[in-house]
C-alpha cells in the first residue's frame, strides 16, 4: 500500500514537470504553436545522440526550445530559425540533411541502387528468355 502510494506520487511528479514546461510557453496564435511543435521535432538536440528538441530534457534543448519560441513570436520564418540553428550547431541539428556534395550519396544512393536493381532484373529476365528460346529451337 505504501509502495503504491509512493509510486502514485512519483508518477504525478514526473508528469507535472511536463505539464509545467508546457504552461510556461504561450503563443500568440495556434499556428505559431503548431510551427513550434514541428520545428522542435525537425531539429535535433545538439547534446544528445538521437533525440529531437521536443523530446530532450537536456538543458541546452530547453534553451533552444525557448529560442525557437522567441523567434517565432518575433515573426521569424521557419527557414530563418533553421538557418540560425545551423549557423551555430552545424548540419548536425538537421534531421533532414540538406542536399550538398557530402550528402549527395545519402539522397541519391537509394535511387541509384533501385535503378541498378531494375537493370539487373531486366538483364536476368532477358537472358532467361533468350535461353528458353534457345532450348525450344
Amino acid at each position: 500500500m505504501k509502495l503504491m502510494k509512493s509510486f502514485c506520487i512519483m508518477v504525478t511528479l514526473l508528469l507535472s514537470s511536463y505539464a509545467f514546461a508546457d504552461t510556461l510557453m504561450t503563443f500568440s496564435s495556434e499556428l505559431n504553436q503548431t510551427r513550434f511543435q514541428s520545428l522542435a521535432k525537425e531539429l535535433r538536440c545538439p547534446k544528445c545522440q538521437n533525440q529531437d528538441l521536443a523530446d530532450s530534457q537536456a538543458d541546452i534543448a530547453k534553451d533552444l526550445r525557448i529560442q525557437i519560441h522567441d523567434m517565432i513570436e518575433q515573426g521569424k520564418t521557419d527557414q530563418e530559425i533553421v538557418d540560425y540553428m545551423v549557423a551555430r550547431y552545424g548540419d548536425f541539428v538537421l534531421y533532414r540533411p540538406r542536399y550538398s556534395a557530402a550528402t549527395a550519396f545519402l539522397w541519391g544512393g537509394p535511387i541509384a541502387l533501385l535503378l541498378i536493381g531494375f537493370v539487373a532484373f531486366g538483364w536476368v529476365l532477358l537472358r532467361n528468355k533468350k535461353r528458353r528460346a534457345g532450348k525450344v529451337l
Binding site: 545538439p46 541546452i60 529560442q67 545551423v86 551555430r88 552545424g90 548536425f92
Partner: protein, 169 residues
C-alpha cells in the same frame, strides 16, 4: 570476370568493414563546431568583477582561449587547476560564466584563484547559443586575427592542450 561478380557481396562486406572499423573508438558525441573559421560573434555582456559592460573591443588582441565555465559544473572544477597553470604560462584566457549565479562565481574565483584575463557573465546563455555551446566546460581557441580555430568540449588537461596549443597563434 563473371567469377569476380560472385565476390561482389564479399567486396561490399569488406568495404563496409573498413568503414565501420575506422569508426571504432572514435567519440560518438564529438560534434564539429559550426563556428570554426568564423570570427567571434558580437556580444555585450557584463564583467563579473567590475560590473562594466564588455564587448568585442575588450577581447585580447593576440591569440587567446575562450573558456565557458560555471560553478554548477563539476568538470569545470576539475579543469580549474590546469587553467591556472596555463594562465601562469602566459596564455590569455577569457572566461564566460555560463548560466550561473554571479555571487557564487565571484566566490569561486576568490577561493580557487582566477586564471582569466577577463570574465563576463552570460546569465541567460545567449552568448553560449551564439557560440554553439552545448554545456560547460567548453574551450575555444581564437587566433590573433580574431578567428575561431578550435573547439574542445569537456575538461582541458595536458593531453588536450598538446593538440590545442598548436592552434594558438
Amino acid at each position: 570476370m563473371r567469377k569476380l561478380l560472385w565476390f561482389l557481396p564479399f567486396f561490399v562486406f569488406l568495404g563496409m568493414g573498413v568503414v565501420l572499423y575506422k569508426q571504432l573508438g572514435t567519440n560518438p558525441e564529438y560534434m564539429p563546431s559550426a563556428l570554426i573559421g568564423k570570427p567571434v560573434p558580437d556580444f555585450t555582456l557584463v564583467s563579473l568583477q567590475t560590473n562594466r559592460v564588455e564587448d568585442q573591443s575588450s577581447l585580447p588582441k593576440q591569440a587567446y582561449l575562450i573558456n565557458f565555465w560555471a560553478t554548477w559544473c563539476p568538470t569545470c572544477e576539475m579543469e580549474h587547476a590546469y587553467l591556472r597553470e596555463l594562465a601562469q604560462q602566459g596564455v590569455p584566457i577569457v572566461g564566460i560564466d555560463y548560466k550561473d549565479d554571479s555571487n557564487k562565481a565571484q566566490q569561486w574565483l576568490a577561493t580557487k584563484g582566477n586564471p582569466y584575463q577577463l570574465v563576463v557573465t552570460d546569465e541567460l546563455g545567449k552568448f553560449g547559443l551564439d557560440m554553439g555551446v552545448t554545456g560547460a566546460p567548453e574551450t575555444f581557441v581564437v587566433n590573433s586575427k580574431g578567428i575561431i580555430v578550435y573547439r574542445h568540449q569537456g575538461d582541458l588537461n595536458s593531453t588536450v592542450w598538446q593538440e590545442m596549443k598548436g592552434y594558438l597563434k
